[in-house]
């Protein structure tokens, strides 16, 4: 049964990318366990604004787990202690009366902090721009069923395409590696005939961009897979390694 709880929230506050950050602890009373985690932060911010203080800055958008905008490293887990959901889908019933909840931003050299809990994830956009697309050249619209695709391939491609690019994989990784993200983006296209044509070039340029942006080297700990809100499998990383090595040895 949902009840109202009194909690303490220990939040990372940082004024700007170059400033030194620190933790601040806030007390919240009568928070409904039926409210979402982000609603709890909204209540906190309303309280801070009423007290004339600066509200806590955090990323959020769709609040239904598909946009990949929300982040937050809550009590040692990216997207909080619940399984296979994003922070916006996390509810306060996962916490108990008297809990102190520690909220930190994603921490990785590839994701510099903008302010408080908001980090700059444009590195992911740059990786996508490096090759995470299928070039559409001129010509008529092809017939939808003209290219047959085996069911298992289509399913695997769809599973990889479930990645929302939130960056929880990088946040969870002890190496700050973006391999799960890049492998999902390479796999979703490499598995389909339309994406096969540019597969070699895509794998090479996306990995090159990932390295250039300062993400770490994957050591296959599997922490990314455990924390991914969309259950992206690390077998995609094996596929990326395969695609990349195949392309390089062909050169």
């Amino acid at each position: 049964m949902d009840k109202n709880i009194n909690i303490k929230v220990k939040v990372w506050r940082q004024n700007g990318p170059k400033e030194k950050g620190h933790f601040e602890t806030y007390t919240l009373e009568n928070i409904s366990q039926g409210s979402s985690f982000l609603e709890m932060l909204d209540i906190l911010n309303e309280k801070l604004i009423n007290e004339g203080k600066n509200p806590v800055v955090f990323d959020h958008d769709c609040r239904e787990g598909i946009c990949g905008m929300c982040s937050l490293y809550i009590n040692g887990h990216p997207h909080g202690p619940d399984e296979d959901i994003t922070t916006c889908q996390l509810h306060m019933r996962k916490f108990d009366d008297g809990d102190t909840i520690v909220v930190e931003p994603w921490r990785s050299a590839g994701f510099p902090i903008i302010k408080d809990l908001m980090v700059d994830r444009t590195a992911f956009d740059k990786i996508i721009q490096a090759g995470g697309y299928v070039s559409v050249n001129t010509g008529g619209v092809p017939d939808a069923n003209a290219i047959p695709i085996p069911r298992d391939k289509a399913e695997a491609a769809m599973d990889a395409a479930a990645c929302i690019g939130c960056g929880a994989c990088v946040a969870a990784c002890k190496n700050g590696s973006a391999m799960l993200f890049v492998s999902a983006k390479v796999s979703q296209l490499a598995l389909l005939p339309q994406g096969r044509i540019e597969a070699a070039r895509r794998a090479k340029s996306m990995v090159a961009k990932m390295d250039e942006l300062g993400f770490g080297n994957c050591t296959n700990t599997g922490a990314c897979e455990a924390e991914c809100p969309k259950n992206i499998s690390i077998s995609n990383i094996a596929r990326l390694n395969r695609e990349f090595l195949k392309a390089k040895f062909k050169d």
């Binding site: 950050g21 990785s108 050299a109 969870a172 002890k174 700050g176 990995v207 080297n217 700990t221 390089k248």
Partner: protein
Amino acid sequence: MSWLVKSSIGRKFIMSISGLFLILFLLFHMSMNLVLVFSLDAYDMICRFLGANWYAIVGTLVLAAGFIVHIIYATLLTLQNRKARGNDRYATANKSTATWSSKNMYVLGIAVLAFLVLHMMQFWYKMQFKEIVGDHTAIVEGSLLVVPFFQNPVNVIIYLIAFVALWFHLTHGFWSALQTVGLNNTVWMKRLKVIGNIVATIICAGFAFTAVYLYFAY
């Protein structure tokens, strides 16, 4: 081929190939040790094969190169990964479920390296090295050195501890190496982990059995 050292996957490829090569060496070394259980004479015969012959020296050099590459790249990758993690660390410990050995491969590697140095001082230096440089005190018949060595329980215990560290290193290392070269998928993931555990157990159990057997048999 500059991509091998310039790209992250290239560097990891070097790690995995050198690692798989070292696993093959460990399998050979373990099999050779097991000969001690059956016959000291046969073991001495193998030791004579592996003395100062040209093929033994070439083999030793290739093996040393494998170790050096593996260690240098482990250090390089670990330093890069620490940098990629950023300066600010999480205040709350990372609670993500990942196996303990996978998160501590470098530490386990250092433990194995420390043991390797000790082990080479205790055996390789007195056997092959002295033989190559023409020192008369070189011990050609390995059993004369090995059997008395394992009469000391302290030595047995140090070696057993090292085998445990090696076991943890190999349980992650085996499947991880195959994942890195791309030989993995959803179906083979579990199988490779099981095979990795079996390989690690065979290697470490073989080593441990020989050490304990020698302690009790003589």
